[in-house]
Every structure is written in structure tokens, then in C-alpha cells.
């Protein structure tokens, strides 16, 4: 795909499809710019105003109240809302779209920020009742109906699965977590950190099954799930199943419009599709072959796209490696880079089990390329910056693992 210049004339109508975190952030960013498109319409599938999806976990765990989820509403001047509507058709030639509510809109520019949905495994019984994901307010309401003593199976040992499992456990639910990999958070944590995490969660009352592959779900007479069966034949009785094993970008509109779609809707460095009038943003977009599911790179996309939509020449967005900072079950985790080092990458570890403190650094060619911090993550951002800068470590390597400050004040060597 050839890159666009990023220039677009003003005085046009911008339509943003999606009122999730990406769409909301984009609109908020535009409203702060005087040279924004004069007319902006937002179409959102959910009927509610935009909310912070990241906070669903603490809400489920009972740590915050519902109001804390709401994202601040942007200034409304020149802004038009179509909430609870789903786009059903796009005519790129006529630059027109339709919704399931019969709305017909002409656009000069169109932004697709349709997000993603849980990836549901293709297996018998997946359509039974009380099987769902954990992404939306609606999902959360469903989970909050679980009461103490009920049983739940959470499928997926990544961040979302762990948060759902912990949230439910805190509500008194007996939770079994199924992780297909041999360790939790296998994309972020190394073996040691993952096993420490598993031990801690187990001590807190969660049942964690790693290397567990789901074979099918079994239902009762009411069509509700009542058990899951694993590939090894084990059968676990349950009252609900939460699927948190990856996400699938919502690319249907892209296909509908005849755009290039791979994993996500393909865009260039200016978040522009093959059609210069259409952009894609956030989890539904695929930039340089990569889709993202974390907030930080999406915020960077928003800044680039906002410039483009205001007619500013702007450097192309380059997907940057990002760091994961999480708090799971009260344990701080921070990681970036590969979880499993490639050949030739050197690994340094530090462990203080009595203090719940672990870290591993990956070093290639005397440069920091990855880190896992478990317990105390305060050095995480500094280490990430060090990796981003590509600084040669030299003597600082010796003590870097004991504190990021050592990288900026390396050992003085005898001259």
C-alpha cells in the first residue's frame, strides 16, 4: 500500500464509527484542536456513553464504583451522536453509510474504530448459555450476577483472564483458571515469574490449571453450561465459563467496504486504508502487519490520526514495541520484549523469594532488549526507556538488575 501524504482539505464531515476507548480518545483529541473538521459524527454500537474498559476488572472486583468507569464527555459543539446504532453498509464511491436504525450519512472522511471481541474457540457447546467474554459493561453485569459459592471456569491465563478470575474470586466464586500454555501470561512472563504468579494465586484460593486445553462444554436441560471437559478427559462442573483467550479484531465493516483486511483492517503509517477517505484506528486496525490490544500504542495512533484529520503533515506512525504494566491480584508486573529469549540473547535474573521480588533482563549485543519485573516494578519505565534508546550498557550491566539508576550512574572504572 502506498502511503498517503497525510494532507486533507478542511470543511468536511468526519464520521467516526466506534465509541470505545479509541474512538472516544480521537474525538476528544480533535475537539481540543481549532482546525478540526467542522462536523463530526460518532456512531456507537453500545447505547451507553464511552467508558474505560480497563477499569472493568476493578469494578468487577468491587474495588471501584460504576461512575469511575465513565470517560469525560467531550465538548459537544459540532458533535453529533448516534449511539446504540450499528453500521450496516458503506458505499465508498458515494461516501455514504447506513445504520441498522435507518440512518444514512454522507461522509468526507470515515474512521473505523470498531475494536475487537473475544476469540471464541471453535468447539462443541460454545453456544450454550452462561458462556461469555469479559470486555463490555454487559459482560461485567453478567459476571456480577455470580454469587458466593457458585463455580466459574475462566479460559485464558493472560491478563484479562487473570483479572476476571481474581474479580470473581473476590466475589466468593470458586474459580478454576484454564491456561493452554505451560505457564500463565506466557507472552509476557518467563517461567520463573509465571510460576511465582501461579503459586501466589493458588495460595489466594484460585485453582490454576496450566497445560489445560478445553475440548467441549456441556449443558443442562435449560441450555446453560454445566461443565467443561478438557482434552485430557477431565470434567469440571461449573456454573459459567468466561472466555478470555485472545481477541479478534472487528473487521467486518472493512470487508463490507471492500478494504484490504488481514488480521485487522490494513492501514499505512497515517492510519489510512487503501481508500484515502477511510482510516482505521485501534484494535481493529493493522499497522505494518501488527495489531495491538494495549492502550499505549493506540494513544500514539490517535495523535497521528488527529493530525491527519486536521490537515497537518505528520510523521508516519511507527508501531513501537510496548511495555506491559499490570497489576494482577495485587502483584505488580512489568514486561517488555520477548518472553522467551531468542538464541544469542543473554539473560540475567534476580530472585528474592522471601520478598516476592523477581526480575529478568534480556540483553543482546550489550543492549537491553527485554525485561520481566515481578513484585517491584518501579524500575520498569526506566528500563524500557533504556531499551528504547538502545544504550550500550558497558559496566552498568553488572548492577543494572539491582536498580535502573545504575544505568544512568554506571560504575566508575579506574582510569
Amino acid at each position: 500500500m502506498t502511503d498517503t501524504t497525510g494532507y486533507s482539505p478542511p470543511h468536511e464531515h468526519l464520521v467516526v464509527v466506534g465509541n470505545g476507548m479509541a474512538g472516544h480518545r480521537l474525538v476528544t483529541a480533535l475537539m481540543a484542536r481549532p482546525d478540526r473538521p467542522p462536523r463530526i459524527t460518532v456512531i456507537g454500537e453500545e447505547a451507553t456513553t464511552a467508558y474505560n474498559r480497563i477499569l472493568l476488572s476493578p469494578w468487577l472486583a468491587g474495588e471501584i464504583d460504576r461512575d469511575s468507569l465513565d470517560l469525560p464527555a467531550p465538548a459537544t459543539h459540532g458533535l453529533h451522536w448516534h449511539l446504540g446504532e450499528q453500521v450496516t453498509g458503506i458505499d465508498r464511491t458515494a461516501r455514504t453509510l447506513w445504520t441498522d436504525q435507518g440512518t444514512r450519512l454522507e461522509y468526507d472522511r470515515l474512521v473505523l474504530a470498531t475494536g475487537a471481541r473475544p476469540t471464541l474457540p471453535d468447539m462443541p457447546g460454545i453456544g450454550l448459555g452462561n458462556i461469555g467474554g469479559f470486555r463490555t459493561l454487559e459482560d461485567s453485569h453478567w459476571l456480577m450476577q455470580r454469587t458466593a459459592g457458585q463455580r466459574a471456569v475462566v479460559v485464558g491465563g493472560g491478563l484479562l483472564g487473570l483479572e476476571a478470575a481474581e474479580g470473581l474470586r473476590k466475589r466468593g466464586v470458586e474459580v478454576t483458571l484454564l491456561q493452554r500454555s505451560d505457564r500463565l501470561m506466557n507472552r509476557q512472563l518467563d517461567v520463573v515469574a509465571a510460576s511465582w504468579l501461579k503459586d501466589t494465586l493458588t495460595q489466594r484460593g484460585l485453582t490454576v490449571e496450566t497445560g489445560a486445553q478445553l475440548a467441549r462444554c456441556e449443558g443442562n436441560a435449560d441450555g446453560q453450561v454445566c461443565a467443561v471437559v478438557l482434552a485430557d478427559g477431565r470434567r469440571l462442573a461449573t456454573d459459567c465459563v468466561i472466555i478470555a483467550a485472545g481477541i479478534t479484531p472487528n473487521t467486518e465493516l472493512g470487508r463490507l467496504a471492500g478494504l484490504d483486511v488481514n488480521k485487522g483492517i490494513c492501514v499505512d503509517g497515517h492510519l489510512t486504508t487503501r481508500d484515502p477517505a477511510i482510516h482505521a484506528l485501534g484494535e481493529c486496525a493493522e499497522v505494518a502487519g501488527t495489531t495491538v490490544g494495549l492502550v499505549e500504542p493506540i494513544w500514539e495512533q490517535v495523535e497521528t490520526l488527529a493530525d491527519v484529520l486536521c490537515g497537518h503533515a505528520t510523521p508516519a506512525h511507527v508501531p513501537m514495541p510496548s511495555a506491559t504494566r499490570l497489576k494482577v491480584a495485587g502483584i505488580d508486573l512489568y514486561s517488555f520484549g520477548a518472553a522467551d529469549p531468542a538464541p544469542g540473547v543473554e539473560s540475567m535474573t534476580y530472585a528474592d523469594p522471601g520478598n516476592g521480588d523477581y526480575r529478568r533482563l534480556l540483553i543482546a549485543d550489550d543492549r537491553l532488549v527485554g525485561a520481566v519485573l515481578y513484585g517491584d516494578t518501579t524500575d520498569g519505565p526506566a528500563l524500557f526507556r533504556l531499551a528504547q534508546a538502545g544504550t550500550a550498557l558497558g559496566a552498568a550491566r553488572e548492577t543494572l538488575i539491582f536498580g535502573a539508576a545504575d544505568a544512568t550512574h554506571p560504575l566508575q572504572e579506574v582510569a
Binding site: 528474592d352 548492577t399 545504575d406 560504575l411
Partner: protein, 917 residues
């Protein structure tokens, strides 16, 4: 039996803090120390402002004296054949076994090996007991290793073992020549006096003659980096130059000296042109001429020499070559003039005063001195008790141990010295003593290696407990006072020998109840038949002190001998009238024919080995290693070598290396030093098996001695060097309490034990790669306490681990390349943290880092007094402190004892060069 503890002054028991004057036990300067006593303990020390030697100054070792006390590590009980026993039994055993040896093998099968650490009173009793009553001449001392050559030369030239100069002469001289003496490190207070004098007198010049560029060069106007052993050639050349340029003092020679012609002829046997001498000494001819010119153009010249001259197979001649020049120029007997031998030990001179060397009899009388045998027999009344007084000189140190090896000597009593470390071919000495039928050792420290080969061990008192007198290098007798209670059952050496003498039936001759009575007897003997001009005149005469009451003895102020009716207030300078105690009354110039070291270099052993002291240690470290701050200057045994030699042998700075000599091996850390001449290496003589596995300098030296003085050739070994390890090393620190029961690493190819304040640190290395060891298994097998933290860097072969228990650090281990060891001081402090909360979370991960995140690594300690490290000093220099004064104002370094000032200056110059580059 009388109790040795009864001799202490009553002030010991005073509860209120009080000051007491005593004398430092380290080097030959003999500084006065003012000790603060609280509750029977010495809590602080300061220089005694009234003592003439130091006038209030103290060096870093002296300043740390109170840190080296305490009962841990002391010998507390007598032992016979390994078992603790009572004093009565031990003394009975000593007496019985000595008697048995004498009756079976004869009197000459018994020997004593003494020490310059003994007080004069101890020395006197030992000499009297062995020579006078056990009937053996084999009484020698470790002073033999230190300045026997200087003694032999003085006796040959002056007819007496008499240092003509005093310390004030260093301040009054116009030219001071330091030869074979690193005064800055080994006699720091004298160095400070000299430095101050030079700063006050712009006309004063200082010449340093030494193969190494030492810290003493800091004040040198001229430095001659001569080839090792070429000193006699240099001074013979000076004599010839004086003759050639008409600079001799013919009047003095005519009136007061003899032997010039023979001495001059011997000097002129070689080519005495400046170029020829400069070539032989490997120095620049112009510098040589400058030195000769300065020497001949100044009247007030002091040549100060020490072990660099003495420890040679021709040491007596080297001293003589110096004395020849002083006599030829009349540069003696004047203020600020004379050949001045500085001794290494605090009481080397006191030992000689009583006759405690094998070639002496008593009180500066030798066996061959006319009427001496008769006089001493009469005085000791030994004829009535034992009919045999020995008839000739005994065996000198090296020869004594050879006689033990041959079985000629069957019993030896070793007091206050560690010959298995300090004698050349030290490994052999250890084997010899192990095979000797009876080895009795009196010592105060439990870690002296000689104890390993002892049959009977007697716990002796140490500094601050011992009570008596010492004589420093300027003939000044000072009181070393008993201020604290001895630990356990430790007893004074004189008391121990007196008790043995009683058991042998000599009670009447050893009826001593206090050191004062011993001193009075010694003083009387010195004055017996001793008149100037008459036959039998000895310069050493302290008869003026023979009638001191005990109170007067206790209060004795420092005084220089001779002290007699003609000089009741003592004598600062000798031979001021040009009259010498030789048969002719004249001083003797002697012919000197320079000869090189006996230990020859060859293809296998191509490097010249020099040995010596470091600034902050003393002898075999039994005392100084108890002060953590004294360990920080040089924590490990080391080898100084020239950069080009290092490169040629593939050695990097701080790498571990092994020296091999014909007799043994030495392992230590390489220090690449431009101060070394090419082809020469330097090692410290302090380390021994209590502190490192193979780091005894004397194991490298062949036992060649000077034929006259019997002093070993300790400065001229022949060695080879090779890198010892290429891989990882380990640093282990363990709390002092846990370390007592821990012998973690004696099987390592290299180990060094470094006592710190709260922990003991070991440096460990293997020939093979340390990283190959299964360290986690080793930790489990070897170290106490849980494994609490660890970090691993496999690519670098590095591991760090620690053990924490109840909030305190048990141990800390690091395995890895040696080049980035953290400074251990921060960790040492952490080992000492004993708060109830224990170590804070913020600090916890820093434990393995080995330093605080904000704390700088200060680097090797330069200023021991104020514990200031090299990096901190370098940073201050870069920050604009461009003088020693500025550094002192900011960091306090160099402001107390001043002995680090040469190193500060070197750092200033280094940084200056750095900026220029």
C-alpha cells in the same frame, strides 16, 4: 608463684577516663603515645606531644592502635602437646624438657629465637637465662633480619654498635640522602618531620636512592633509580670522587680515622669515572654527578639507610661504603651530619643493648671482648651456679635453623616472632621446626603460624599490657607501660622465664618481682668497669639509671643513652669529640669491594624480586589486621610490576599472578606500576597463611646471608611470573561471628582473608574457571543460613547470592570476573546493621549490587585515617580541587597522619595528565 598482674600501676582500675603515656610498638621511630584509659580499656590514642621522637604526631598504624586491642584472637591458656594445662604444669614441662635436652645433647643443643617486639627487660632475662645459665650461645633474634648489617658495620667502623645521630639531625641537615629506605611508608613520622623541615628550609635538599619510585620521592630534589644492589659501587664512586676533587676532610682523617688508603684503593679497583659508575648503577651520569657534587659541597649531610641496604649478602659492606664517605668528609659528630641506620622494629636496639644477638654476650660486650667473659660471669655470679659460660659466638638466625635441621640444636624457645613467615626459605623453616624435638613458643596471638609447630605454647602479654622499656633508632629509651589487664592467663615474658629459671634451680639469679629490678640490674651491668679511655670502655652506658626507684622507673621520661655520671641527662649525638671506642681510638674506613646479589638471575628466574613493607601493615599482620581501616589500603597480597614486564607475561592490572622462585611460590594480585624498574618486581613481606594461601614473600627467597652480619639477602630474590587465573573469582563476606567457625576455601588456588569491621571478606580464585563450580550446591554444603537472594548472569558466568536471617545479613557471595568488584565498605556497614526492623526493603535489592543506589563507589581507600577512596578524590580533583590542601579541606584526606599525601599528589598529577591528553 607471684602474679604477673600485680605489676600494673593503680591507674588501671580507675573508673574515670585518664591519660597515660606509653610508646608505640610498631616501627623503629618509637613514638610516644598518649592513651585514653576508660574502665580499664584504651578507648583512644593520640601522639604524645612531650615525646621527643614524634612531638605529638602519629602515623596511621599508631593512630589505630586502640582498634587492634581486645581479647579475640589472643592466646589465653598454656598448652602442652596440644592440650590446655595450668601454668604450673606448663612451666614444669618447659623446665623438665630443657633439662632433658641439655643432659642428653649438651647445653649447645638449646637455643632461643627472640624478637624486636620484646621489651628490654624481657630481652635481658632471656639473654641471661640462655647464655648465662643454660650455657648456650645460641640466642638470636629477628633483628637479625632487619639491621644486623648496620650493626656489624657500626661495630667495625666505630668499635661499637652505636648510632651516632639523632632525629633532630634530619631537621638540621642541609642534605639528607635516603638510601634503601621508603621513609614515607615505613617510618612515617620521621618522614613528616623531614618534610616539615624541608618546607621550612629552602636550602635543604633531599636525595632518594632506591630502585623503586617510592612515596618518599615526593619530597626528593633528586632521585637515583639505581639497579638493585649497586649501592656499594655508588658510594665507592663517591669516595673516589671526593678524593679526585679534593673534597676530603684531611684534618678529620688525620686526627680521628684510619684505613683511608686501603678503602680508597679498593674503591679505585673499578673504573671510577662517572660514566662507568652510572652505567653500573644504571642511572643518568648527570644525576650521579649532581648527587656527588651535593654530597661533597655540604657539610651537614645525613645519609639515612634501612633494609634496602641491610638486607643484602653484602649488607655490611654497603653500610661501610656509606660510613667511609662520611668519615672521609668529616660528616659525623656534628649536628645534621652522620650515617644514620633506621631500624625497623620498636626495640631492635634495646635487644642489642642487653646482648640479645648470637655474636654478643651482654651489655654491648662480645664474647671476644677482653675481660668480658670474666666480667659478666662475676656480675651474674653464674660461676657459682653453672660452671659453663659459653665460650664463643652462637648461631645467627639462618644458621640456627640450619643447625636445628641437622639435629645439632634439639630445643628452641621462640618468643614474640613468627619465623615460619619472616625467614627466607620460609617453607623449609616450617618443615625444620615441625621436625624439631622441642619447640616452645611464647606469643600473644593465637593465629601466628609458628604455633602450628609448637610443642609447648605459652600465652604472653602484648602491647598495652607489657611493662618495661624500649629503645628507638636514636638511642632513646622510653617506657612502654602496662595499662590494661592481660586476657585469660597471659603472662609477661620476663615472668615466664623467671619461673622457668626457678624451676631449673636458678632462683637466686632470677629474683625479679618487677621490670624495674631487671632494668636496674641491666643498667648496673652497662656501667661495670666502663670508663672512657680505659680498656673495656663501652659507649653503651646507662649506669645513670641504675639507681632509679620503682616510682622513678615508672615515671621515666624518654632519655638517650649514654646516661651516666658525665651525661646524666643523656646524650643526643655520639662521637662529637672524634674519639671512638676502638683500640686506636680512631674510626676505621674499610675497603669495600662491591659484589652483586648471591641469588642470581637466569633464564628460568629472570626477574629481580624486591620485598618490603606497605604503609598500613606491620610485620606478619597479627596485630594490624585487627583494624579494618588498616586493611583497606592494600587488602590483598600483591605483586608490583612494570607495565612492559606485565605485557610480556600477558598480565593485566589486578589479575592474580604467581611468582616462582627457587624455593617456593607466591600468589597475589598484580599491580602494574610505573614505579617499578623494568625486570624487577616487588612484593609485600606481611602476608602469611592466616591471611592468604601462598603469599609469604620469604618462601621465594633463598637463604643467602651476609657473611659478617648473617643478615639474609631479602631484597634480591630471583623469580619468574605467570598469570594465575584467567577466569572468574569469588568474593565471600561473612559476619565476623559466623566466620570464626568457617574455613570455606582453603582448597582454592588463591585465597585472601580480609578482616573488616563487621565481616570477614575472602577473595577466592581457582586455576580453572570458578564459574564451573556448582555454586548453589557449594553454598548449601558450606555456608550457614538460608539462601535468601541470588542473581545470575550466565553469559558472564556471574552469580551473586546472600543469606538474610532475622533482618540481618549472614553472608554475601559474588562469583564473576574480578574487574568490577564493588567496594566492600558499604556491605561491611550493612553487616553491622542490627536494628530490630532489620534491613529496609529499599536497601534489600541493593545488597546483591554491593552498594547503595545513590552511594558512590569510592574505590580503593587512599586515606586510611579518614577512609577516603580513590574515586572520591578523583571526582573532587575534576571538580576543581587542584591541591592537596584543597582536597583536605573538602574530603579531609591527608589531614591527619599525612602519609597518603604522596598518593594524593600522584592522583593530582594523573588527573592533570588526563586533562592534557
Amino acid at each position: 608463684m607471684s602474679d604477673a598482674r600485680a605489676v600494673h600501676p593503680p591507674s588501671v582500675h580507675n573508673a574515670a577516663p585518664c591519660q597515660a603515656a606509653t610508646t608505640c610498638p610498631y616501627c623503629g621511630v618509637g613514638c610516644g603515645v598518649s592513651a585514653t584509659l576508660e574502665q580499664g580499656r584504651i578507648t583512644a590514642v593520640a601522639g604524645d606531644t612531650t615525646h621527643p621522637a614524634n612531638q605529638g604526631r602519629l602515623c596511621v598504624k599508631g593512630s589505630a592502635l586502640h582498634e587492634t586491642l581486645g581479647h579475640s584472637g589472643r592466646l589465653l591458656h598454656p598448652r602442652v602437646d596440644g592440650a590446655i594445662t595450668s601454668w604450673d604444669d606448663a612451666l614444669d614441662q618447659v623446665a623438665a624438657r630443657l633439662s632433658a635436652t641439655r643432659s642428653t645433647h649438651g647445653n649447645h643443643a638449646v637455643a632461643a629465637y627472640l624478637s624486636g617486639q620484646l621489651l628490654t627487660e624481657d630481652y635481658y632475662v632471656a639473654n641471661k637465662l640462655f647464655k648465662g645459665f643454660l650455657g648456650t650461645p645460641h640466642v638470636d633474634t629477628n633483628s637479625r633480619l632487619c639491621m644486623a648489617s648496620a650493626v656489624a658495620a657500626y661495630k667495625r667502623a666505630f668499635g661499637a654498635d652505636a648510632v651516632p645521630c639523632c632525629y633532630d639531625d634530619l631537621e638540621e641537615a642541609e642534605l639528607v640522602v635516603l638510601v634503601g629506605s621508603n621513609l614515607a611508608w615505613n617510618h612515617p613520622v620521621l618522614y613528616q618531620r623531614l618534610k616539615t623541615a624541608r618546607s621550612r628550609n629552602p636550602l635543604m635538599r633531599i636525595v632518594v636512592i632506591d630502585p623503586r619510585v617510592t612515596d618518599s620521592c615526593d619530597i626528593a630534589d633528586l632521585y637515583l633509580g639505581i639497579a638493585p644492589g649497586s649501592d656499594a659501587r655508588l658510594f665507592n664512586g663517591l669516595l673516589a670522587f671526593m678524593h679526585r676533587t679534593g673534597r676530603m676532610d684531611q684534618v678529620y682523617l688525620d686526627r680521628h680515622a684510619e684505613g683511608l688508603e686501603e678503602a680508597l684503593a679498593a674503591a679505585c679497583e673499578a673504573d671510577v669515572t662517572l660514566d662507568a659508575i652510572a652505567a653500573d648503577c644504571d642511572i643518568d651520569p648527570e644525576r650521579l654527578e649532581t648527587f656527588y657534587y651535593w654530597f661533597t659541597s655540604q657539610l651537614h649531610v645525613v645519609t639515612l639507610y634501612s633494609q634496602g641496604i641491610n638486607q643484602s649478602s653484602s649488607g655490611t659492606d654497603k653500610c661501610q661504603a656509606i660510613i667511609n664517605c662520611h668519615l672521609a668528609g668529616g660528616r659525623i659528630g656534628l649536628p645534621g651530619a652522620g650515617p644514620f641506620s633506621i631500624t625497623g622494629q620498636p626495640n631492635a636496639m634495646g635487644g642489642r643493648e642487653v646482648g640479645g644477638l648470637a655474636n654478643q654476650l651482654a651489655a654491648h660486650m662480645d664474647y671476644h671482648t677482653p675481660q668480658a667473659l670474666e666480667r659478666v660471669t662475676r656480675f651474674w655470679q653464674t660461676g657459682t651456679l653453672v660452671p659453663t659460660l659459653p665460650d664463643g659466638p652462637g648461631l645467627k638466625a639462618v644458621a640456627l635453623f640450619e643447625a636445628i635441621e641437622r639435629g645439632e640444636v634439639q630445643a628452641v624457645w621462640i618468643m614474640a616472632t613468627n619465623p615460619v613467615v619472616s625467614l627466607p626459605d620460609a617453607d623449609r623453616v616450617k618443615r625444620i621446626l615441625a621436625a624439631c624435638p622441642l619447640v616452645i613458643v611464647s606469643d600473644c596471638m593465637a593465629n601466628a603460624e609458628v604455633l602450628d609447630v609448637a610443642d609447648i605454647i605459652l600465652p604472653a602479654t602484648g602491647w598495652s599490657e607489657k611493662d618495661g622499656t624500649v629503645t628507638n633508632s636514636e638511642r632513646c629509651i622510653s617506657r612502654q607501660r602496662g595499662l590494661t589487664e592481660p586476657p585469660g592467663e597471659a603472662r609477661h615474658d620476663w615472668w615466664i622465664m623467671t619461673e622457668v629459671a626457678r624451676r631449673l634451680g636458678f632462683a637466686q639469679a632470677f629474683d625479679y618481682d618487677h621490670p624495674a629490678t631487671i632494668f636496674a640490674e641491666h643498667a648496673r651491668l652497662s656501667g661495670l668497669d666502663n670508663d672512657p679511655g680505659a680498656a673495656g670502655w663501652r659507649v653503651f652506658d646507662i649506669s645513670g639509671l641504675a639507681s632509679l626507684t620503682r616510682d622513678e622507673y615508672d615515671a621515666l621520661a624518654p632519655i638517650q643513652w649514654p646516661v651516666n655520671a658525665r651525661a646524666p641527662a643523656g646524650t643526643a649525638r655520639l662521637f662529637t669529640d672524634g674519639h671512638f671506642p676502638t683500640p686506636s681510638g680512631r674510626a676505621r674506613l674499610m675497603p669495600v669491594r662491591p659484589c652483586g646479589p648471591q641469588q642470581a638471575l637466569n633464564a628460568t628466574y629472570a626477574l629481580r624480586l624486591n620485598t618490603g613493607r606497605v604503609r598500613d601493615q606491620w610485620h606478619t599482620m597479627t596485630r594490624t589486621a585487627r583494624s579494618a581501616r588498616l586493611m583497606n589500603h592494600r587488602a590483598e597480597p600483591f605483586v608490583d610490576l612494570h607495565p612492559e614486564d606485565a605485557e610480556a607475561h600477558g598480565i593485566k592490572d589486578r589479575q592474580l599472578v604467581e611468582l616462582t622462585g627457587i624455593c617456593g611460590r607466591f600468589r597475589g594480585r598484580a599491580r602494574i606500576a610505573r614505579a617499578q624498574r623494568r625486570g624487577e618486581v616487588f612484593v609485600p613481606m606481611h602476608w602469611n597463611e592466616a591471611f592468604s594461601g601462598r603469599a609469604r614473600a620469604n618462601a621465594l627467597l633463598a637463604p643467602y646471608v651476609d657473611p659478617i652480619s648473617g643478615q639474609p639477602e631479602s631484597k634480591h630474590g630471583a623469580v619468574n611470573v605467570r598469570p594465575l587465573t584467567h577466569g572468574r573469582e569469588a568474593t565471600l563476606m561473612v559476619t565476623t561471628e559466623l566466620a570464626e567457625d568457617l574455613q570455606p576455601v582453603r582448597d582454592c588456588a588463591y585465597w585472601a582473608r580480609i578482616p573488616m569491621c563487621h565481616a570477614v571478606r575472602w577473595q577466592l580464585a581457582e586455576d580453572s574457571d570458578m564459574a564451573e563450580r556448582d555454586w548453589l550446591a557449594w553454598i548449601e554444603d558450606t555456608l550457614p543460613g538460608p539462601l535468601s537472594q541470588w542473581s545470575v548472569d550466565d553469559a558472564r558466568g556471574r552469580l551473586r547470592a546472600s543469606s538474610l536471617q532475622d533482618g540481618r545479613l549472614n553472608w554475601w557471595l559474588m562469583v564473576g570476573p574480578p574487574d568490577t568488584l564493588p567496594s566492600p565498605l558499604w556491605l561491611d556497614a550493612l553487616f553491622g546493621e542490627a536494628s530490630s526492623e532489620g534491613i529496609s526493603m529499599a536497601v534489600r535489592r541493593r545488597i546483591l549490587a554491593g552498594r547503595d543506589s545513590d552511594a558512590r563507589d569510592d574505590g580503593p581507600i587512599i586515606c586510611s585515617c579518614h577512609q577516603v577512596g580513590q574515586y572520591a578524590i578523583q571526582a573532587a580533583i575534576r571538580d576543581g580541587d587542584h591541591s592537596i590542601e584543597a582536597l583536605g579541606a573538602r574530603l579531609a584526606c591527608g589531614t591527619q597522619c599525612g602519609s597518603c599525601q604522596p598518593e594524593l599528589k600522584a592522583l593530582l598529577e594523573e588527573e592533570r595528565d588526563h586533562v592534557r591528553l
